[in-house]
């Protein structure tokens, strides 16, 4: 299998890339890790006339804490995100998610920016950025803007990005005191996309009251879903059995799964309930300083 013909550009600078994107607007696609785009081009589902390879632009793959935020370059690949001590320490749910994407080869080249721009309904980064209330820094030759994760996902494989725009950074608000999280997904077989995935970020005070909560659901809708009702049930409350059960129920209602080869809609709703409970459990244990594995169930 090979793709339809295209013209290939490899700009040396971000400015050059943005200029090319503007010049060829609508006809060009950017190529980052290629792990979503190239398979689609080989199937000729995607037939861009021009390909702008941003894979080697420098300075876009950083992972750094600055101004109270964690700034992650769009070209940061899944594997370094999994391995970064900074990420594991500050936002362990990101390390969890990075480690369960596809397989080693995919994690070695696929990028967080590419995954978010691809907006695969079953992608693992979507629920994570929703739980973290992250913002995406987006750049075009026309200027810069910041898009909240919640505003970014518009439909299956569709985002708020304009066709001349690039995601350049994912900005994660610095976690408050004691805040931590977990990401859990269930898949049918090694390396597969999620049947369902749940991301949780929370902070609980000394009295056991939930001060901060973010919940993202993946693979149970046309877009990743921020479970705002479940969040509202937990925020400001003690995490009692009854409250947790209510929140799990709310998240299952907020999910909009369809039955497909990965499972029935009812099964996926059940998974949302179970994964949410377990992800909260893991986050709580982590907040007490325990080392707990997450990612896969």
């Amino acid at each position: 299998m090979f793709p339809a013909r295209f013209d290939y550009f490899r700009p040396q600078t971000l400015e050059e890339a943005l200029g090319l994107l503007q010049e060829h607007q609508g006809e060009a696609k950017v190529l980052a890790g290629g792990m979503s785009l190239i398979p689609l081009m080989k199937l000729r589902v995607a037939k861009p006339a021009r390909l702008i390879d941003i894979g080697r632009l420098s300075g876009l793959d950083g992972i750094e804490a600055r101004d109270g935020e964690l700034a992650i370059g769009a070209l940061a690949r899944h594997a370094p995100l999994e391995e970064s001590p900074l990420v594991r320490e500050a936002v362990p749910l990101m390390a969890d998610a990075a480690g369960v994407i596809g397989d080693t080869q995919v994690r070695n080249w696929g990028t967080i920016g590419g995954a978010l721009a691809e907006a695969d309904p079953a992608g693992d980064w979507g629920p994570v950025v929703l739980a973290l209330n992250a913002r995406l820094r987006c750049l075009s030759a026309r200027g810069e803007r910041f898009i909240a994760a919640r505003e970014f996902f518009r439909d299956a494989y569709a985002t708020a990005l304009a066709s001349d725009e690039l995601v350049t950074q994912v900005l994660v608000p610095g976690p408050g005191p004691g805040a931590t999280g977990a990401y859990l997904k269930l898949e049918r077989k090694a390396g597969d996309f999620a049947i369902a995935g749940v991301a949780v970020q929370l902070a609980v005070d000394e009295q056991g009251v939930c001060r901060e909560i973010g919940i993202g659901l993946g693979a149970v809708g046309l877009t990743p879903i921020k479970a705002v009702q479940a969040e509202a049930i937990l925020r400001g409350q003690r995490l009692s059995e009854a409250t947790l059960a209510d929140a799990a129920e709310a998240a299952a209602r907020e999910a909009e799964p369809v039955s497909d080869i990965r499972g029935s809609a009812a099964f996926k709703r059940d998974l949302v309930r179970a994964l949410l409970r377990r992800a909260i459990e893991i986050a709580l244990r982590r907040s007490r300083g325990e080392q707990v594995e997450a990612g896969h169930v």
């Binding site: 090979f2 339809a4 290939y8 290629g34 390879d53 080693t104 080869q105 080249w109 090694a190």
Partner: protein, 163 residues
């Protein structure tokens, strides 16, 4: 019409040049242009890992990259693993542990294992399993492959200790 592009790729330590269409896949450049047919095409859909090579030291499914993306980079294929007519300890271990039957998956398995050992000289069994999760074998059944990677780690560590 897209025109041909000149690329220079260091393949197994040797500078190679090519005139390629941008849509030429890296695996086809290696197999068809350079005659390096050790890199196999199993699924052509980013699933099986038979086409795995190292690009700048990182494992990559070469059916899911364009040759133009390798321009100016270093590629290692299975042909570059043995040195001076001597099998690499990993290859020896595959032979000794019966880690192949038809051998179709083997080049990819070797490259994934080589990548793992380059980053982690003492992998646990679960780390080995995870490292080859992107490589499918339809006949050997994985256990001997895992045993081979373990044996190779031991060989390499013994060799290192002897130096």
């Amino acid at each position: 019409m897209s025109s041909l592009r000149s690329i220079r790729v260091r393949v197994n330590g040797i500078e190679r040049e090519g005139q390629v269409e941008p849509r030429l896949l890296l695996v086809d450049f290696l197999r068809e242009h350079l005659g390096l047919t050790g890199t196999h095409i199993g699924c052509d859909t980013t699933s099986c890992g038979a086409c795995t090579v190292l690009m700048d030291g990182r494992s990559l499914k070469s059916c899911t990259a364009f040759a133009v993306q390798a321009d100016g980079r270093e590629i290692t294929t299975v042909e570059g693993v043995a040195a001076d007519g001597q099998l690499h300890p990993l290859q020896e271990a595959f032979r000794e542990q019966h880690a192949l039957q038809c051998g179709y998956c083997t080049p990819g398995m070797v490259m994934s294992a080589l990548y793992l050992l380059s980053r982690n000289p003492n992998p646990t069994e679960s780390q080995i399993r995870r490292a080859i999760a992107g490589n499918l074998c339809r006949c050997t059944g994985y256990l001997n492959i895992i045993a081979a990677v373990k044996a190779a780690a031991l060989k390499l560590n013994t060799r290192r200790a002897a130096i």
